[in-house]
Amino acid sequence: MNKESRLKASINQKLTETGERDRLKELLRAKLTECGWKDQMKAQCKEVIKEKGLEHVTVEDLVVEITPKGRALVPDSVKRDLLLRIRAFLTQHAS
């Protein structure tokens, strides 16, 4: 287990160092906007805001409500594309 967590740490470091993590973030954001996920989630946010009140809503409120829904609503195609890219990175950097 220890070896794996160290491996994971070194992979994460490589992701950041090569700039791939930022590229992946941008890619994911673009795809999520494109497929309408962002608009969907914004609508969800509106619900939370109406519930908690415009003046009193906190980041925590939003995070707690939105994150689980957000994860569930990511389309499979987007997940597939990202996974392909990640796997390619992993095999490419098999040191």
Binding site: L15, I49, L62, I66, R87, S95
Partner: protein, 175 residues
């Protein structure tokens, strides 16, 4: 002492997949958090609901879907049958043909100089009453091929003939 192998290739497929899923999970979470912060800031700064309009305005500007009208509700082919009088030649022209007619009539626009040039050249060839001097006409006639060959095929054919002059014909070889 053996160095422990720390490479991705040492992982089997299922573990590789799990690692990829973990990374994806992190990225998705990051995107969600980013959205939350974005929305929260928009709420506190007061611009979150800015793109919503009230119901009444929404109804006023709703998309029109009737035959003969465009999406704004305007009639779009009402100028089809109208006629306009050209200020240059005082002819009555159909509205949809008006702009191209003006281009040629006024001598402005992209093609009018080309058309005028063509007309000058073919004009010189067909009617010999010259607007230019006699000398100029003689010069024109002295050349290898006539300047009146305006058709593209003619120009290309004559050019080929000219360039063929120096080449031996391969078909008829001397014995």
């Amino acid at each position: 002492m053996k160095m422990e192998e720390l490479s991705v290739s040492s992982l089997d497929n299922s573990k590789l997949e799990a690692l990829a899923q973990d990374i994806l999970s992190d990225l998705v979470e990051d995107a969600c958090l980013g959205l939350c912060f974005e929305v929260h800031r928009a709420v506190k700064q007061g611009y979150f609901f800015l793109d919503d309009t009230d119901q009444e305005s929404m109804r006023d500007f709703e998309i029109v879907d009737q035959p003969g009208l465009d999406v704004f509700g305007q009639v779009y082919n009402q100028w089809k049958n109208k006629e306009c009088v050209c200020p240059n030649c005082s002819r009555s022209i159909a509205a949809s043909r008006f702009a191209p007619h003006l281009e040629k009539c006024l001598g402005m626009g992209r093609n009018s100089s080309r058309i005028a040039n063509r007309r000058i050249v073919t004009g010189n060839n067909t009617n010999n009453k010259s607007e230019s001097d006699q000398e100029d006409n003689d010069d024109v006639n002295d050349n290898d091929w006539s300047y009146g060959a305006e058709k593209k095929g003619d120009v290309i054919f004559l050019h080929l003939l000219n360039s063929h002059k120096g080449v031996r014909c391969l078909k008829t070889k001397p014995d």
